[in-house]
Symmetry: C2
């Protein structure tokens, strides 16, 4: 009877110590699991390359350390942060607006490009070329105040549904990219959008969806005009192009709006090539990456032959320069927030 | 003998208590003194109004509380954060540049507006009007890459001296405004420059001087063009106006670059009126303020009749709407960092 409590007493420190080790291991394991900042990314070279970059630039002891003020990451939006098929969502917004506004414009029934839109005749619409598209944009994006336009965008996003997924467009954002944005910010990065899309089309919703505040959005714009209406100041949206933030316009937009060269840039099409070249040419560690749409089942598969989001020259340059190419099918465990 | 220690003992708690009060008062006094966030401002209504505004919008318990993301404050630069006499400093930079570049342009000796500059003939220069000034700006601000221009600006600031104060231009910044910027940031504000001056002329030095990073600078700009030179991407500065961030252009610039309406705006001239009107028209607590140059001795005194930084209509509107008017002579204990 005596020996058992005695052994027990002698063993107690050991048991305590073992328990502690087990507890610590358990905690470490739980922490490691909880601490995967990119759970929607499959393990592999791509995930590893992205995590390694973020880690080294944020690590004071690393020779690749970059002070927080210089940790600027830029992201294209269409096809990089949210989907862009069957057409840029802002294009679908313009088509919907034409239909909403048509009763006030009976002449549109007989006038291109509006006739094509009202008759859902995409061939005739495409035949109108860029000139037709600009006319559509101006008819749907100008002629109201900035405050009114913001309300129109919010209303559309609240009611419109994507033709394939039957969900609001703001749900067609890429969950892996949302995790990446959050992880970059947790590591002292400022995450900017640098998109060919309209800056005023994006600002009303990107904070809620991506955690990116309006002031960190660079995009295309039409001109606005300040005036006092019965003493009340307004900004009227004019049917005149101000800035096209696409292709060679992206480095121009980055310089104009941010004034610092990014150290990381993410795109998905030839429209992002110059932004990646501009980012790559700075000193110190750099991360250039392209999202390659390779998943026809969960999303879409397209690259060199696509009319929307064509990825051709940029893909070649990425491969030859060793930039990261995210293979959606291979690298993403989950695509949209709503997918399993 | 007995009675004294007895009294002493009975008094001890009182003495202790009194000492505590004295200590606390002393500490509070020291704290009040140490904690004055605006030591270069004289006590009075102006300082009080500014401090009260900052306090209430940052106080969660206040009915005027504003969440940090919306705490946007915008500042004009010339005449608001640094001096602007006898001419906008960027104008003085352009004149200096003409002289530096003259040997490469022998034709300038006979051609206006260059001839006027080279002969220091300000009357002839003024006679050339806006057209002449634009020509001067283009000859001195375009025709190089953005990287080259940044180096030119930095070099000028390192060597040029102000004609009256014989100091680098970056020392002619207002110490009270620097304290205000820091106090706003300490209270969760983002402090932006929104200036008629060139954005690329300001970005190289404002972080060091005001603590304002390049990405929080909105200003006028000329166009730039992206190109690959022997494979190296550059942005070439073109002799073409892109955006004038002055007068009615300031709310346009705020909307374009920031995409949020500020809750506080500081200016000093009629060029800032629309920015203040735009700021004033938002919901919730607002602070609109003008720096009134009233101190010919320590700085300059000018307003309604001045050709540089004219303050006329905005002064009337400030008075009628109860906006804060900072009287430099009365409200500022110290003007420049180097003054006593």
């Amino acid at each position: 009877m005596r020996i058992i409590p005695s052994i027990s007493l002698r063993l107690r420190p050991l048991v305590f110590f073992l328990s502690l080790i087990l507890l610590m291991n358990g905690a470490a394991l739980a922490e490691r699991k909880a601490a995967d900042p990119l759970p929607s990314w499959n393990s592999g070279q791509t995930k590893q390359a992205i995590l390694a970059f973020i880690k080294k630039v944020a690590d004071r002891k690393s020779s690749d350390y970059v002070p927080p003020a210089k940790r600027i990451a830029v992201f294209d939006n269409d096809g990089t942060l949210w989907a862009e098929q069957p057409l840029y969502f802002q294009g679908l917004f313009a088509l919907d607006r034409v239909k909403v506004l048509a009763p006030q414009h009976p002449e549109w029934k007989e006038r291109q490009p509006f006739k094509a839109v009202l008759e859902n005749d995409l061939t005739a619409l495409a035949a109108g070329g860029d000139k037709g598209l600009v006319e559509l944009v101006m008819a749907t994006h100008a002629g109201m105040t900035t405050t009114e336009f913001e309300a129109i965008v919010k209303d559309w996003l609240a009611t419109a549904r994507h033709p394939r997924f039957r969900r609001p467009y703001t749900e067609l954002v890429y969950q892996p990219m949302r995790e990446l944005l959050a992880h970059l910010r947790a590591n002292g990065f400022k995450t900017y959008i640098v998109s060919g899309g309209g800056v005023d089309f994006m600002r009303p919703w990107v904070e809620k969806v991506y955690g990116i505040p309006p002031e960190l959005v660079v995009g295309s714009s039409i001109k606005t005009k300040f005036e006092l209406r019965d003493g009340k100041p307004v900004l009227e949206r004019l049917p005149e192009v101000d800035f096209i933030d696409d292709r060679a316009g992206k480095p121009v937009g980055i310089h104009k709006f941010i004034g610092r060269r990014p150290i990381a840039a993410f795109g998905n099409s030839d429209g992002d090539l110059q932004m990646l070249q501009w980012t790559a040419d700075g000193d110190g560690p750099r991360l250039m990456a392209l999202v390659h749409h390779t998943d026809a089942e969960r999303e879409w598969a397209y690259d060199r032959e696509s009319s929307v989001g064509r990825l051709d020259q940029a893909l070649d340059e990425a491969k030859s320069r060793g930039w990261v190419v995210v293979d959606m099918k291979r690298d993403w465990k989950r695509v949209f927030p709503f997918s399993e």
